[in-house]
């Protein structure tokens, strides 16, 4: 007995192979994950968003005049696509949209070949939305162009997290653009619903705690595994929506992603009973909280029409912040130099 315990202890001290360090992103202009952004870069993007938003459109369009940016979309999108397109065009860039349903992707062309083709056509940066987690990493590895992740599978949606941050700051820390590790100290953000399939949830839960916010994830076990709490620091799981609301200054509602449920059966009546944001719940438990939603909203499912259109709702404001943030991100894509790949 003693001998085996001793052996086990010795063995735990054995040298193990090292985990290789990430070598992404290769290109200093890329935005693949919020994890790649340090606080200085986030502050820079927030400041540039404001400057660009206020700039005269006739001088703003000289910034990326005639530069070529491709939008490569493997999934449908209203907000993100239009917002990136308007942002790039506001800076004077030429944009072209390639979507999976009207291109050679339908004929079986791989992401690698599509990316190389776009580069050969003169694209200087690619904005990609893809239904597979990690696709932007593959695209960057193959093209070495600046790649902007506009949502990859169930993984990340970094510009959404940045525009959400800008929305939160505008309400809770007006005027603040230079962020630090305690900018959002004392702020609790609850993200509610289909966390498992949500790239918006992942980007926000990995970004906001780095500025001092507490993130509560809330939803039923099939849509929110317990292991989500281990995704990073500052994240907790709370199954009781009302208990979570009670602690929150910000509540982000998410759509149930029917297209990613992969056979999972959900009782929607039960879901509404437990997790729908109603006027009653809001006024009882979080009468001053900011209500956010990345869209598209499904009125009457995760949120009532009254709340979506109500005075606490920042949903359309988020969309407006999106254009400003994406101008800053697109500008950085084509002007960033010399920044080191994350160690």
């Amino acid at each position: 007995m003693n001998a085996s315990t001793a052996t086990a202890t010795t063995r735990r001290q054995l040298q193990r192979p090292q985990t290789p360090a990430s070598s992404f992103p290769y290109n200093p202009g890329s935005l693949l994950s919020v994890v790649d952004l340090d606080l200085a870069t986030i502050s820079h993007l927030l400041a540039r968003a404001t400057t660009l938003e206020n700039q005269d459109p006739l001088t703003r369009d000289r910034i990326l005049f005639k530069r070529r940016i491709a939008l490569l979309f493997y999934e449908s999108s209203t907000r993100t696509r239009t917002s990136f397109e308007l942002a790039a065009k506001s800076l004077g860039a030429d944009t072209t949209l390639v979507s999976s349903l009207s291109s050679s992707i339908e004929k079986g062309e791989t992401l690698k070949d599509t990316g190389l083709t776009l580069r050969a056509l003169g694209a200087e940066a690619i904005i990609i939305r893809h239904n597979s987690s990690g696709a932007p990493w593959l695209l960057e590895q193959e093209t070495r162009l600046p790649i902007l992740n506009a949502g990859d599978g169930m993984h990340e949606h970094p510009t959404q997290a940045l525009l959400d941050l800008r929305t939160i700051l505008a309400h809770l820390r007006p005027g603040v653009e230079t962020v630090s590790a305690d900018t959002l100290s004392g702020v609790t953000v609850t993200i509610v619903g289909d966390i498992l399939h949500s790239r918006v949830a992942r980007s926000n839960m990995l970004l906001l705690p780095r500025l001092g916010a507490r993130v509560i994830l809330c939803g039923p076990p099939p849509l929110l595994p317990d292991s989500a709490a281990n995704a990073g620091p500052g994240i907790t799981v709370e199954r009781d929506f009302e208990a979570a609301l009670h602690q929150s200054q910000v509540v982000m509602m998410l759509r149930i992603q029917a297209e990613r449920l992969a056979g999972l059966q959900l009782d929607l009546t039960q879901y509404r009973d437990a997790y729908q944001l109603t006027g009653q719940r809001l006024s009882t438990h979080a009468p001053t909280a900011l209500v956010m939603h990345p869209g598209p909203i499904i009125r009457g499912l995760e949120i009532t029409a009254g709340v979506a259109d109500g005075p606490q709702s920042a949903i359309l404001e988020q969309v407006r912040h999106g254009v400003a943030i994406r101008m800053a991100v697109v500008e950085r894509a084509l002007t960033a130099t010399g920044m080191q790949a994350r160690a």
């Binding site: 597979s132 593959l138 790239r199 992942r202």
Partner: protein
Amino acid sequence: MSTLLIHNGHLIDPAAGVDSTKDILLKDGRVAEIAAPGKIKTGNGAGSNAEILDATGLTVAPGLIDIHVHLREPGQAHKETIATGTAAAAAGGFTAVAAMPNTNPVNDSPEITRWMLSPDRGASVRVYPIGAATRGSKGEQINDFAALKAAGAVAVTDDGHPILKDSIMRETLAAAARVGLSVIQHAEDTRMSQGASMNAGPIAFKLGLRGMPPEAESGLVERDIRLVTELKDSRVHLHVAHTSTAAAIAAVRQARRNGLRVTCEVAPHHFLLTEEHVGQYNTNAKMNPPLRSAADRDAMIEAILDGIVDAIATDHAPHATHEKEVEFEHAPNGITGLETALGLCLHWLHKEWKLPLGRVLSLLSAQPAALLSLKGRGTLAVGSFADVVVFDPKAEWTYHAKETRSKAHNTPFDGWTMQGKVRWTISEGRIAYAAPQ
């Protein structure tokens, strides 16, 4: 047939209990004589006209045996052929490999088994086909095991398509036992791993990938052990392929305590790497079973050091480069392993973790040979097949995937430090690989 004299090497033959400097004479494909250095006469004695390989300072051991490889023929020659796969095997010190039946078509017939064994395939080392347990590996209809065995199959399995139905698995175990074949199970309850591309847990969650729970493996191992218990037939042999979870190892350990004939293999990547190596969607870290948690990886190390593991097997799974250069969830499972197994085992198991060299070599030769009853293999006792690996145990070198003899480059060990460099691999008395000098 040529005669070879391996002169003055340090012979380590765990099965025969030899660990000293010897001369070995190989004649007509067999080990003819073993004696103290200089004692075998090369003039006009038994060793006349022998080609002499000077093994001074080198280790001489039974050729390595990998009981889990994918040679991709018939049907997927763009990934690998029997010729290229066995050339890689020879370069890695292997003299026998057992080929999984998930070819196209599936190897579920004596005809395909014989086709794989034909000299036309150009194999550099001995190939042992493993037959499919069920027709087309669909898990419904049991194949004719006696006919497969007669054609040369050494075991049966449905490998990547594990047999889920209790009744079919029970029948497979019983029928294989009647003809003296082992049943190898890729333990994965595929009902629990739909759409999954890595280990379930916080990292899969963070990467937005669907996860394979460890229970999908251990649950099926436990089910299979229950079936073996119920059969109450000592001839039944269940072999658990590429064990990757602590819970599956625990189940095997318990089965052995209960006196059952249940064995297991572990692949180098499962005792060296963890799910962290997926990094930023590295498709060369995608395989099935997936890389697991650090606790599972440590359980594999402990099980090897404790002697619970019966064999190191690589699960050599070559894929064309373009097949791996895709979105992570669309990339095929598997990595190559034949050229890196010895170097990794010597570096980590022996040098770092102090497992005696004889035990490392036994896990790579004597034990896998015994496990699949490969007669005359896994030892260099006089009369055995002249399957030999000669390597420099002190040589440290760096593996470069681009220099591989396999058709495929899909390995997470590119650029890794290896210990022990193969000088010669001899298959049935013929030099199958000689290191470039």
